[in-house]
Subunit: 346 residues, 2 copies
DNA sequence: GCCGGAAATGATACCGATACCATTTCCGGA
DNA sequence: TCCGGAAATGGTATCGGTATCATTTCCGGC
């Protein structure tokens, strides 16, 4: 019984001891160099003889060594992690931005820590947890943050990009556009089409609120003060659009046009109106927001506001990278603007 | 000139020394306890006197101490990070799963590291980078992984959930459904509606490929061997649906029904067909896949295959949590199934 | 063959928390 | 009052890398 334990079946090679993970010291020992040389071979191969490099790489491959970035990050103070906080990603315009942001950062060797704050007050807690992971940069959606969060972010001394909104006083950097102007553009478009009785089916998130103000101010300038609205909780689902329009009708609001805070809501309004026998745009004009992918391919196609979503993500990523690399960012506030796309629904 | 530098404008409170971050030792010193007691106050408050707890918390608040989880994770071997790898999130069904997955994990105090592999061979490299961060669990989309990646994951000894597909031999755990059966269900639906000339507008991702096989086999059983297809690169954009259908027509394929690998493609086909004066479903039946939010709200509404996307994310999260907490998972393979939803387009 | 500086490698300390075990404090019961 | 065990707290070592500085090796030019 008291025999030496049988060696594992396969792997005649220096079998990684079960349970104990391979460390840089193990690799160093097998390769006959010091740990720091292994570190250099992996991170700065140009500092190492081709011969040494090859030897180290061979041992790494053979042992299945996986460097522990937690340890490395702790010492070097470089986590190569960037955090991104979004309210949500279902049915939202943020997916494109996340994709572009992540792709850009991956190309530079960063990993992305994703936080979803659900439009609630969870942002504080979420960001506290994130900061503990020592990201090298943070992307935030929107500019409405609690004083505590602002303080924490400033104290952290890491680059911060706020996105999707506009303010002359960002925490650090910003990539976005004016929701007030976007709202005004929607209003003016409907006014130009001759509409005077305009209803809103609108999401309850903060940026949508600003767009609504933009609409109402533009309408007020045209002498229109009553703007009936049906408010829906995020996310902007098609179903909520249907219900919102039904709600307006139920309340007896007689509107010739409906503006929506997002395309899914707008398409929901279209669907509900069509079901009730209304012709679009003759009986009812509908305008959305976001230029979602489907907007150009429904029947009728949807007039909307287009945002360069992916560009926001990409610019935000680049701003963070620039800062991390010590380059000064010329424009701390970038306005990517928006574009009204007129289609068949208005 | 040689005056002491002016103290920072505000903050009469014990100003954190610029540059040097507050550590647990600083907090301990100010609170008059040992570092380990601070650690306990923050992580296991029940181990500490209410009095001590309050004192520590006060100091933490005053100094703005942010625990360094890199250090803690290194020592405790618990990163409280879970990684999730998706091919992409734009125009995809994964957004709902990510949302549910992330929400569930946040509730348990985990942060999510998001990897987007872009359907390319980047998965290997991506996962290597991720493993270095020592996540406590990994969510993977799909079951097609390189041998190297499989080996690495197994060697890492962390719980793995594969999702969106089905196999009796997952790396560890799995939550998904049978794409083969889903494809067959689509085919049978069209057959039942009397269609014999069926075309495909189809995405090129691996799981779509399996669904296609399911369709073709079911059609073959019905004696239909020629199934013209137009293949489109991911992501499944509406525009690609239009082009795909145009492509079929250009090639002279006369079809009475088109099956698509995703709803956006299907809606693109619908749009293109409508534009060419075809009535749906009389002249052309169209079936999609995924039951995207818009599918029920377009005109005509879209017949499709519904997946409980959020449930996949949630179950995957729960499986990982269970494993991490040492509970045995009864069902290592969970089939969430699918449901054909018949609407107006077929 | 010798010299000097660059290239390659190594020794040591350290990042900031927590595991582990030891010590002190506290409190009810004999 | 004393005792014993639980509760609270602390000392020290350690996780696994890399920064820093020191040392050794290498090589061309004189």
């Amino acid at each position: 019984m008291a025999r030496t334990p049988p060696r594992p079946p396969r792997d005649a090679a220096p079998a990684p001891r079960a349970g104990k993970a391979v460390t840089i010291r193990d690799v160093a020992k097998v390769a006959g160099v010091s740990p720091i040389t292994v570190s250099r071979a992996l991170n700065n191969p140009e500092l190492v003889t081709p011969d040494t490099l090859e030897r180290v790489r061979a041992v790494v491959a053979r042992t299945g060594y996986v460097p522990n970035f937690l340890a490395g990050s702790l010492r070097s103070r470089r986590s190569r992690v960037i955090a991104a906080v979004f309210p949500q990603i279902t049915n939202s315009m943020f997916a494109d931005a996340i994709q572009a942001f992540t792709d850009r950062l991956r190309a530079e060797g960063y990993e992305v820590l994703l936080g979803l704050s659900s439009y609630e007050q969870r942002e504080d807690e979420l960001i506290a947890g994130i900061l503990g992971r020592r990201p090298e940069g943070i992307y935030l959606t929107g500019i409405n943050h609690s004083p505590q969060t602002r303080r924490r972010l400033i104290a952290s001394h890491i680059p911060v990009v706020e996105a999707w909104d506009l303010t002359p006083t960002p925490i650090d950097m910003l990539v976005g556009f004016s929701h007030e102007k976007a709202g005004a553009a929607m209003a003016r478009h409907l006014l130009a089409k001759g509409h005077r009785r305009i209803g809103l089916v609108w999401g309850k998130d903060p940026r949508a609120g600003v767009r609504r103000r933009g609409i109402e101010e533009a309408l007020a300038e045209a002498g229109i003060d009553a703007v009936p609205a049906s408010l829906e909780p995020p996310p902007g689902k098609f179903q909520f659009g249907r219900e919102g329009f039904a709600d307006l009708l139920r309340r007896g609001e007689r509107v010739s046009a409906v503006a929506c805070s997002s395309d899914p809501l707008a398409q929901g309004v279209v669907a509900e109106a069509q079901q009730r026998g209304l012709r679009i745009p003759e009986d009812l004009a509908v305008i959305g927001f976001g230029d979602f992918d489907f907007a150009a391919h429904t029947s009728p196609s949807l007039t909307t506001i287009a945002i360069e979503k992916a560009r926001i993500g990409q610019l935000a990523a680049e701003a963070l990278i620039a800062r991390i690399e010590g380059r000064e960012v010329a424009e701390r506030v970038v306005d990517v603007g928006f574009r009204l796309v007129e289609r068949e629904s208005t």
